[in-house]
């Protein structure tokens, strides 16, 4: 059984616990063993923290990578932002001994050392590449009949030269994973557009941020989508809060783990839906 340290991040455990619960239940059902990444912190957030000070961003990320390394397991994330930060940090530190040494000097303050061994995975990548769509489909007991708009978000596939998961302009991974449940992924205008939350724009420029989100939701609504499927609690929050605070588009915001929870017969209330 594949085994990973679950990196929770901030938004899922503190705002969408149903996403955390769904992840735990779905991984159990699909045969992925999750262990706690005890003592982990914020990834830290690529938007504001990396924009403020890259040395701090790298040091805090390195501490998280070191905790997984000590447990002898790789990291699995349920958030594009955490994936973006931790994957990028691992990409830097696992390939640059000088930067690794500089970060370890900071980490020695708290008795932690990182040796550049941890690999970072996105849960949808693990589902698609390690389990495969057919094997996943075979586990579902409650096929779904719903039209959905898939939202990839930005940091799942990009920058594609280091992530190498799928074509960043015309990807198919998530559409295939979603359709394994019986749901239909409908194409919509500017599908690859950002939700508007990243880069510190949600906190720093909320009006601009919600313009992105509203444009996306109008395009989703125009093709008859009922659910928005995301793989990132921050995109999830952006679509959810914009509908609560700005305008309700009647689109249910659903993380892929929650959709899989439904297809496995887990009650909606437990999934936080």
């Amino acid at each position: 059984m594949a085994k990973y340290a679950l990196f929770l991040g901030c938004v899922a455990p503190a705002r969408y616990p149903g996403v955390e619960l769904a992840t735990r239940e779905v991984c159990k059902a699909l045969g992925i063993e999750l262990v706690e990444l005890e003592g982990a912190s914020c990834c830290p957030a690529p938007g504001v923290i990396k924009s403020f000070d890259q040395n701090t961003w790298l040091a805090v990320a390195a501490r998280n990578l070191a905790l997984a390394e000590k447990q002898g397991v790789d990291i699995i994330t349920i958030c594009n932002g955490c994936y973006g930060s931790l994957f990028d940090a691992a990409h830097i530190l696992n390939n640059d001994p000088e930067k690794l040494a500089a970060v370890n000097k900071i980490l020695s303050e708290v008795g932690v050392q990182y040796n550049g061994k941890t690999k970072v995975h996105h849960f949808a990548e693990v589902f698609y590449k390690d389990l495969g769509v057919d094997a996943i489909k075979a586990k579902f007991t409650n096929p779904l009949d719903v039209n959905v708009a898939v939202h990839y978000g930005c940091h799942f596939l990009k920058p594609s030269n280091i992530k190498n998961l799928d074509d960043p302009e015309r990807p198919k991974i998530l559409d295939e994973l979603v359709e394994a449940t019986g749901a239909k992924s409908i194409d919509y205008k500017d599908k690859q557009m950002c939700c508007g939350a990243g880069g510190g724009v949600r906190s720093g420029n909320p009006e601009l941020s919600s313009k992105f989100t509203e444009e996306k939701m109008k395009n989703m609504k125009a093709v008859g989508a009922e659910y928005i499927i995301d793989v990132c609690p921050f995109c999830h929050l952006q679509f959810d809060r914009t509908q609560k605070d700005v305008k309700d588009y009647g689109l249910q915001v659903v993380h892929l783990a929650q959709l899989y929870g439904l297809a496995l017969g887990i009650p909606k209330e437990k999934l936080g839906m």
């Binding site: 455990p13 705002r15 619960l21 990444l37 912190s41 504001v48 805090v60 990243g198 936080g272």
Partner: protein, 170 residues
């Protein structure tokens, strides 16, 4: 109007010598970035212009411009750039330089303060602890939200890197 005597001739060189800034001078101003930018479609922000100003050494103008904070780091520009300019990395580096000079918005600073206080940029509270419990999760997760020793360690790191002072209002 901007004149060349406002330029810092060493700025481009400084940016190029820093992590993420190496590709600055590769830009030949084709504008693919601006055309790909969702933020630029909704505002007057132009990625190409920002990069050009950095190339020319218009340091103060670049670092104090609100445009620097319009980017959601969606990577659309960087994926399409025919010159391999690492645009998002450049913007991140320019933001670091701006912050070093004290340019930071109040809401961004607040996010930084959250990290210092909670080791998390979104803090847990009673409402969500109850929600967690009601669906069968631990009230607090096994990260800095529920582990004081881990939080103390993260705080030490944030002190060592100078981040605590940076957002602490000093």
């Amino acid at each position: 109007m901007v004149t060349i005597d406002q330029a810092n001739q060493d700025f481009a060189q400084k940016v190029q010598s820093m992590g993420g800034g190496e590709t600055l001078m590769l830009c030949f101003q084709c504008g693919t970035c601006t055309a790909s930018c969702p933020s630029g479609r909704l505002t007057a922000y132009k990625t190409r212009k920002l990069i050009r100003k950095a190339q020319l050494g218009l340091e103060d103008e670049v670092l104090s411009s609100p445009d620097l904070w319009m980017c959601t780091t969606c990577y659309s520009c960087m994926e399409r750039c025919p010159r391999g300019v690492e645009i998002v990395d450049l913007i991140t580096l320019l933001r670091n330089l701006a912050v070093e000079k004290g340019v930071m918005s109040a809401p961004h600073k607040k996010v930084g303060e959250m990290l210092v206080k909670y080791g998390a940029t979104v803090p847990l509270n009673d409402e969500y602890e109850n929600k967690r419990e009601s669906i069968g999760l631990a009230r607090k997760p096994a990260n800095t939200m529920g582990d004081d020793k881990a939080l103390a360690d993260v705080k030490k790191i944030l002190k060592a890197t100078g981040f605590e002072d940076l957002v602490g209002g000093n």
